[in-house]
Subunit: 347 residues, 2 copies
């Protein structure tokens, strides 16, 4: 199925040096795909044009005059830089010229601009970001990682619905299991918001597993783990921190002296396979959910391989009508809750 992705070529730590080769690789493997490459005019030089010629009209260039910096305040990026590559890419989704936008830029700015340009779907109070985390069983989708703090139980329910539909659309998994991140498996555990959210989830038509704990994210106990953006951020950053510490310790031990360095060399094939096993690149491509359009955020530090994963996920989400699925399900929920309110007032 033909699909067009708008790519913010300027975003990320490496900008066009990663995004352009990744776009070429993606076009080579997905014959039905087209891309609109958005960037500063200087990016599209002669070398680029020669390389792009291979793809004919499957590549369209769209110039932008500004770039959102990685550390720029989202509100400033949104209000002041109206011709940023990020904004132009999202405008293309709004106008229907692209089915999805991908950016490795400033997450806060990407969310603010997406929300402002595309708007949220009816029934969604707050868009969320769903990220993919490696687990012992493969991967776990976790949301929110989009800085939604002070969430209500209803927000957590909305995140659960969106996360489930994301898995159905992108991973083709029917009725994915949903876990609610808590501090114990028992129903009585947790804060008030989480207890209320568990009730809403039990009453929903989702495949709700129940409460899960932090280690369940990595055990792969459920397909989706739902939490508020504060807790999600802390869980993710803590996990990254401990992973970095462990690999540092391992590397330090192997570098301790000549003998251990020799051992490292001998054990290299094993260590390489190990490293590959939880290479974050495979899990790149976090979905911004709840908007009237598909937007995928790549890690800022993504290399070409990782960035291609983000492009694949964006194409998959758009082809499988992620937005339409969320919209349809939310309108069902809105209708149902209206009905129950009316029943309540009639009684």
């Amino acid at each position: 199925m033909p699909i067009t992705l708008a790519i913010d070529c300027m975003g990320g730590d490496h900008g066009p040096s990663v995004t352009l080769p990744a776009a070429f690789q993606f076009l080579r493997e997905d014959a039905q795909a087209r891309v609109v490459l958005v960037g500063l005019p200087a990016v599209f030089d002669d070398a680029f044009r020669r390389a792009a010629a291979e793809f004919g009209d499957r590549i369209v260039v769209q110039e932008a005059s500004e770039v959102v910096e990685m550390d720029e305040a989202p509100a400033v990026a949104m209000r002041v830089k109206k011709d940023s590559s990020m904004r132009v890419a999202i405008n293309l989704v709004k106008s229907g010229e692209a089915a999805a936008a991908v950016s490795a830029g400033n997450t806060g700015a990407l969310m603010a601009i997406s929300r402002f340009v595309l708007k949220t779907l009816p029934g969604i109070d707050r868009p969320a970001i769903a990220t993919i985390i490696p687990s012992m069983k493969g991967q776990t989708y976790m949301l929110d990682l989009g800085a939604n703090v002070d969430c209500s139980a209803e927000h957590l329910l909305q995140f659960a619905i969106m996360g489930s539909l994301l898995l159905e659309a992108v991973e083709h998994k029917a009725s994915p299991t949903v876990g609610l991140l808590n501090i114990g498996e028992e129903d009585i555990k947790g804060n008030e918001v989480v207890k209320k959210a568990a009730e809403l989830l039990r009453a929903s038509d989702l495949n709700f597993y129940g409460n899960v704990e932090g280690d369940d994210i990595f055990k792969g106990t459920t397909d989706v783990v739902v939490c508020d953006g504060f807790v999600g951020n802390v869980a993710l950053k803590s996990s990254e921190g401990v992973a970095r510490m462990i690999t540092n310790f391992l590397s330090q031990e192997f570098k301790r002296n000549l003998l251990t360095k020799l051992l490292a060399l001998i054990a290299m094939p094993v260590l390489k396979r190990f490293k590959k096993r939880f290479d974050p690149g495979r899990f790149n491509g976090a979905a911004l959910l709840g908007l009237r359009g598909v937007v995928v955020k790549s890690h800022g530090s993504a290399n070409q391989t990782a960035y291609v994963w983000a492009l694949r996920r964006a194409a998959e989400a758009a082809r499988n009508q992620l937005v339409e699925r969320i919209s349809a399900r939310m309108s069902g929920y809105t209708a149902a809750s209206l009905e129950s309110t009316q029943e309540g007032s009639a009684a």
Copy 2:
């Protein structure tokens, strides 16, 4: 300085098979220490008496008729089992017969019983549990891990004060740095409670570093990391989960075939050093803070070496007057806030 510890010999996954040899080891290395061993009568058999003879009156046996189960509801353990080994050990702190109690039993029950028997210090709304986490710089003290959910900014300030004083008492570190766990370093980030807590911490006489993120726990950015019990639990469990996943992957890669198994054998000394490097045993012994007595919680799964660490930490906290330090500092805070209230009403 002479010190007496009350030890709940029944607590933990291994009970007396770990707690008794650990007590002996502790007495051997700390000539000024005495212990009261609390357990079911059957524990103190002939073999025990022969082994204990070495220590003369430095070991006192105190029989208890009940044991709190690891999965027992804290409220039930507290109300029904009035002669549990855990409760008797804490009673000994209350009566002054012991300077500190140590248990590897059910955390919820230990907190509930400690709170009920010992009571909280004036100015402390909620006792907290501070755990020690390995970091790239050595270790980070983190609290709360005691399931205090829905904390206020004032609670977080109290945790920060108690955590600082714990480090001063046990690690002999003057003016330890305190970080507030948040989702970004900027002041504007986070939920309302955390923002307010940052203000209180800035206005306090603590060595407040500012906001820290999940990965800072393992970087060792600050000596103490403060957060509410929900977030702390999720951060800790997530970190344990990812650590387990990584070590599983590593071990799987080394077990993949005959060659890799051989490589594992050759690399064993390095892998062993690596494993030791983040062995949780060294970090065993979480302090229950804010009570009128020293109570230290050992991991349920602690082996003898790990359990001895918990005993050492309990002795250190009691010898360095942890409770008196917290009490003195809190009465200072209470006086100051009373004063500022009076000033406020006078104005």
